[in-house]
C-alpha cells in the first residue's frame, strides 16, 4: 500500500514538471524567418486563405506563407491543443470572436494595436480588450435577407423593398403561403436555420440590448413572432429542422423556401452551387433584414443588423522579426487591395467602400439589382459576441433557452426567467 502511494506522489511531481515546462513557447514554423504559418479550415472550399497568402507573397519577395489546415467544426479545440503544446501557427485566424478573450488571457496573442487599418473598416472593435487590439479583421459578414425572386413571382407577391419591419415580413409570409397554395407550388415561405443567432442576434442588435447585462426580456417578442410563424405554417418548424437535419444551403438552393435570413457568407456558396448544379438555377436577391420599427427602414435609413468579423491575430510566442512579418500580413489582409480580391470571390470584406462593393457585384451570378447592393453595403452591424471572457458561457446558457423554447418544451417567459437566473448564478 505504502509503495503504491509513494509511487503516485512521484508520478504527480513528474506530471507537473512535464506540463509546467510545456507552456513556454515555440510555434509550428520554428526558426525559419521567411516562412509564415497561418491557420485555416476547409481550404478546398474556403479559397480566401490561399488568395490572401498568394497576394501577400506577391508583395513580399522571398516570403512563403504556409497554410495549416484544421477541421472546421473542431477548429477551436484543435487550435487550443496546438497552442497549449507550443505548436501553434504564427498567425492565428480568429474563426469565432467569442474565443478571442481566452486566447488573450492565456497570453497567446500579441498586442497588434500598431497595425494600421484603412479608414472605415468594420469589426475592428470586436477584437479590442480594454482598448488594446489583439487581432485585426479581414472579413465582416452581416446578416441579410435572401429571397427567391422566382418563387415570389409564382406566388404573385412583391419583392422586399427595404421598408420591411418584422410585421411586414410576417404579412409577406402569409401572402406567399396562400400564393403557393393557389399556384400549387410546394414551398414554404420562410426557412430559418436552427442556430440561436437567427433569433437572438437580431433581438439584441435591434433592441440595443447588452448580452452581458443579464436581462433577457428583450428576447420575448422575437421568439413569440417565430413561434407564431411556425404555428401558421409560414416556416419550417424547428423540430423538423433538427429531426431531418435540414441544411440552409439545400432549403434555399433547392427552392424549398422563398425567404431566408442568413449571413452574407452564403452568397459565395450559392453562386458556386448554382454554377456546379448543386443548387437550382433561379433568380435571387438580397434585402436588408426586417427591422424592429419604421425608424430604421427604407433605403434612406441605415438598417440595423448583426454579424461578427473574421480576423487574424499574432501568436505571442513568435520572435520579434517574425512578429513584424506577421503584422505586415495583418495589414495586408485588411487593406483595400486584399478587400477587392476577397470581394472578387464573393467574400464580404471588412472594408466595404464603393470600389470593393463594385468588385463584389462583378462576380458572375450575383444579383444586380439596387436593393441587393444597398443591403450589402449599408447597415449598422452590431457584434453578436462582445469580446468578453463571459460571452461564451452566456451564449451557452442562451442556447439552452433557444432549444427549449423553439422545440416547444418550455414557454418563453419561464425560459427567460431560467436563463436570467442561471446567468446570475453561474457566470462571472
Amino acid at each position: 500500500m505504502k509503495r503504491t502511494s509513494t509511487a503516485v506522489v512521484g508520478i504527480a511531481v513528474a506530471a507537473l514538471a512535464l506540463t509546467g515546462c510545456s507552456g513556454g513557447g515555440g510555434t509550428a514554423s520554428g526558426g525559419d524567418e521567411n516562412t509564415l504559418t497561418v491557420s485555416g479550415w476547409s481550404l478546398s472550399t474556403t479559397p480566401e486563405f490561399q488568395l490572401l497568402a498568394d497576394g501577400f507573397e506577391a508583395q513580399h519577395d522571398g516570403v512563403t506563407v504556409k497554410l495549416v489546415e484544421y477541421d472546421p467544426t473542431d477548429y477551436n479545440t484543435l487550435l487550443t491543443a496546438d497552442l497549449a503544446a507550443g505548436k501553434g501557427p504564427d498567425v492565428i485566424t480568429q474563426k469565432e470572436v467569442k474565443y478571442l478573450p481566452t486566447f488573450q488571457q492565456g497570453g497567446q496573442l500579441l498586442d497588434v494595436s500598431d497595425v494600421t487599418l484603412p479608414e472605415g473598416i468594420g469589426g475592428a472593435d470586436s477584437y479590442k480588450v480594454d482598448g488594446t487590439a489583439y487581432a485585426t479583421p479581414y472579413r465582416q459578414d452581416s446578416w441579410v435577407l435572401y429571397y427567391n425572386k422566382a418563387l415570389f413571382d409564382e406566388a404573385g407577391v412583391d419583392y422586399p423593398d427595404g421598408s420591411w419591419t418584422w410585421d411586414d415580413y410576417a404579412d409577406a409570409a402569409d401572402a406567399l403561403k396562400s400564393g403557393f397554395e393557389d399556384a400549387g407550388v410546394k414551398a414554404t415561405p420562410i426557412y430559418q436555420h436552427s442556430w440561436q443567432s437567427t433569433v437572438q442576434g437580431f433581438a439584441a442588435a435591434q433592441t440595443g440590448s447588452d448580452l452581458l447585462a443579464g436581462d433577457y426580456g428583450y428576447l420575448k417578442d422575437y421568439y413569440q413572432r417565430v413561434l407564431d410563424l411556425q404555428e401558421n405554417g409560414d416556416q419550417v418548424p424547428y423540430n423538423t429542422v433538427m429531426a431531418n437535419k435540414l441544411t440552409y444551403q439545400g432549403e434555399f438552393g433547392k427552392q424549398s423556401a422563398a425567404m431566408m435570413p442568413m449571413g452574407t457568407w452564403f452568397t459565395a456558396t450559392l453562386v458556386s452551387q448554382q454554377e456546379s448544379g448543386e443548387a437550382d438555377d433561379f433568380e435571387w436577391g438580397i434585402a436588408p433584414v426586417p427591422q424592429l420599427d419604421d425608424s430604421t427602414t427604407g433605403t434612406d435609413a441605415t438598417p440595423v443588423t448583426f454579424g461578427d468579423p473574421t480576423g487574424f491575430g499574432v501568436n505571442a510566442n513568435v520572435s520579434d522579426e517574425k512578429a513584424q512579418l506577421a503584422k505586415e500580413f495583418l495589414e495586408y489582409a485588411a487593406s483595400e487591395d486584399a478587400a477587392k480580391a476577397l470581394a472578387g470571390i464573393g467574400i464580404t470584406p471588412a472594408l466595404l467602400n464603393d470600389a470593393v462593393t463594385e468588385a463584389y457585384f462583378n462576380v458572375e451570378g450575383t444579383p444586380q439589382d439596387d436593393l441587393s447592393k444597398f443591403a450589402l453595403s449599408t447597415h449598422e452591424t452590431l457584434p453578436e459576441n462582445p469580446a468578453d471572457e463571459n460571452t461564451a458561457a452566456i451564449q451557452n446558457i442562451l442556447n439552452d433557452l433557444h432549444t427549449a423554447v423553439l422545440s416547444g418544451s418550455q414557454d418563453i417567459d419561464s425560459a427567460i426567467a431560467d436563463a436570467e437566473g442561471r446567468v446570475a448564478n453561474e457566470v462571472g
Partner: protein, 301 residues
Amino acid sequence: MSETKMLITPPSPRKRAAGGQATGAGTPQRKIGRALLYVLLIAAAAALLLPFFWMVMSSLKDANSVFSVPIHWIPEIFVWDNYVEIWQKSDILVWIRNTVVVSVGVTFLQVTTGSFAAYGFSRIRFRGRDALFLLYVATIAVPWQSYMIPQFIMLSNAGLANTLWSILLLQAFGAFGVFLMKQYYETIPEELSEAARLDGLSEYGIWARIMVPLSIPAIASLALLTFVNTWNDFLGPLIYLRDPSLWTMQLGLNNFVSSLYNVDYGVLFAGLVISVVPIAIIFLLGQRYFVEGIATSGMKG
C-alpha cells in the same frame, strides 16, 4: 481434478438434452416454441438492422433525397455514383491502410499485455496488488476529454503527435483489457494451475500453456471489442493526426464530407458502409470463438 476434467472435456452433445426434453414436452409443442422463437429473433434482427439498412439505402440516394418527409426507405433512383465518387476522389485506400495498421497494432498490444498483466493480478499474490488493481480500474472513470490536453502536451513534447504511434500508444494500454481478462481468469479453477506447478511449469508457462488456451472466448471478445473501438475512434485521430497521409477512415471521411459545400449524406454513408463491412466480416467469421473456445482448445496431456 473433477472440475478440471469437466472444463476441458467437450460439452456433451446437445442432442441428448433436447431428446430428453422432447419425450416430456411433446414434439408439436416444441416445434411451435421453436417457430415462435424464430419469429421473435427475426423481428429483433430487423429492429437491430434497420438503421444500417437505412444507411445502406441512403448511400444509394442523391444528397437531397436522403432526408425526405415522410421517410423513403428505398431510393427512387439508385445512385451508384456515391461509391464511385468516394473511391475516386478520396484517398480511401490510404485511410483504410492507416486504420488497419492502428487497429491491428492496438488489438495485438492490448490483448498480449492485458492478458499478461491480468495473470499477475489474478494468480500471483503480492503486496499492493489489490490497491494497484483498483487504481487501474479507477482511471477508467476519468473521462478522456478531461486529460486529453495534458496527454497531448506530453506526447507532443515527445515528438509523437502527428504520427500513427500516438494513436497506437494511446489506446493500447488501457485498463479495460486487464480488467476483462482478470475477471475471466478467476473463473478458471486454481487446481489446474496447481497441478501444472507440480508438473514443474513456471508461472509464465502456466500463463502460456493453460490460461491463454482456456480463455479463448475472453480473448476473442477483447480482441473484437478493441478492434472495433479503435476502428471507429474519431476524437483520438482528430486531435493527434493532422497530416492527411496519416488519416484514419473516420477522420478522412469526416474531412472529405466537410470539405464539400454542405454535407452530402449520400457520399458520407457510402464511405461509412465501406468502413463497416470489414468489421462485419471479422465478426461473422470470429463469433464462433466466443462460444467454442473451451470445447476446441482442451489441454494436451
